[in-house]
Symmetry: C2
Subunit: 255 residues, 2 copies
């Protein structure tokens, strides 16, 4: 039988509000559409519903922009209060050009606008922030699925990040639980028996990217079940969070 | 019915040599394992078999390293002749630190070692180079599939690239035919009816990343059929090559 991975979108989750139980909504949606959640599956959940459930939505009317935020917003289309929130969510500015802000978030992610985003947020004056601890968000869903169904799944919280050198954004993993986000081919033999030296694959990012093919942006499908990637029970002994995907400064040639 | 995308690996392609017909090998493997190739499918093919079929393998014994290549190889594990080939495949050095060379290839890709790679190449003194024109390689396969089966597929040639800021590599599209490598959400409405301003998704990169979940590195599965992503006939009027994924210098804050 050929190797096959299936990406199945979960629809019908509807609007998510502060305090909602993300795991419960996902299990309900899966049951409703008769998609089983099984041992070794990977659940990819878009950041937006996690942030909403965790109350990480800020109304601009509640924000007083600083002088620097007002100054940085001049000549761009961005509301100075939106800029203010981006600055608050950043611990380092990486680049700031032509209205674009690339910064390092408090988690250590390098991305545009510190992940602060006005799309798919209700009301015309609200923005969504990244979860405070996306690895913990993922782990909470993993635990809830295990408690409800008795199965071990991996959980990825995904967001859409741009990257240097290439056009377009792709989805990446900002939170990971129940799996090693990296597949380490270092030391394994290639198909000629030679030992490969340097290939470490960020599989959690690839799973997040794959899920985006299903979630799209506007179709009301904020989560995906991935079947066939894991084999049996995940190796929880090697589980690490998405923090492992952040390159430490001393190894980073592009800070 | 839930939205579903399927990634089906093609096995049994075996060793590929210069002059081999990649499209023919893929169609044969698909027929052998009874995976239909249908209108709107996406074929993802790893760069290594394309390069081998196109004769883009160089034996180190045939290479005379330049003085600079010899000098740059001191203190690293890399054979100076291998370094020489990396330099020849580069049109610009982006960073060179601790034995790592990040350069811009003649195609315009920014990646490690100009894509020159010693893994999964037969013999212990050969390296594989990127195809000269990966978009043309993809288009040739697309045309051959159309001629053989009368169906329109999209074809992606994938390779494994690292990236700044994040650990681990992911697969990206270096050649694309039969589809627009970008999905442009700019101007579309989000689920609250607000117009999204800036989301362009590099879907060809996401398709390449998704395929890596199946091809892995050592399992003899160098191609993947993706079903359910396209809907019906691809919109060939919007087809562009992977060149569209290369950010032009004037828009690049990280050159």
């Amino acid at each position: 039988m050929p190797a096959e991975v299936r990406l199945i979108g979960l629809a019908g989750i509807g609007e998510v509000e502060e305090g909602d139980d993300v795991a419960g909504l996902i299990l309900e949606a899966a049951a409703e559409q008769k998609t089983p959640i099984e041992e070794g599956d990977v659940l990819v959940i878009t950041q937006k519903i996690v942030s909403k459930a965790e109350g990480r939505v800020v109304r601009l009317r509640d924000v007083q922009p600083s002088t620097i935020a007002a100054s940085l917003s001049q000549g761009s289309n961005r509301d100075p209060r939106h800029t203010e929130i981006i600055l608050r969510e950043s611990r380092r500015i990486v680049r700031m050009e032509r209205g674009n802000i690339i910064s390092e978030t408090h988690h250590g992610f390098n991305c545009a606008n510190a992940g602060v985003d006005a799309s798919n947020v209700p009301g015309d004056d609200s923005v969504a922030l990244l979860p405070v601890d996306p690895d913990a968000s993922a782990e909470a869903v993993r635990q809830a699925v295990r408690a409800a169904l008795g199965v071990n799944v991996a959980v990825i919280v995904s967001d859409t990040f741009g990257r240097p050198w290439r056009e377009g954004a792709t989805n990446v993993a900002i939170g990971v639980a129940g799996m090693d986000p990296m597949a380490d081919y270092v030391g394994r033999e290639d198909c000629y028996g030679q030992v490969m030296r340097t290939t470490v694959i960020a599989v959690a990012d690839e799973l997040a990217a794959a899920a985006e093919l299903v979630t799209g942006k506007v179709d009301g499908v904020p989560a995906v079940v991935i079947k066939g990637y894991g084999t049996g029970a995940p190796d929880l002994g090697r589980a690490r969070g998405a923090r492992a995907l952040i390159r430490p400064p001393e190894r980073d040639m592009f800070r």
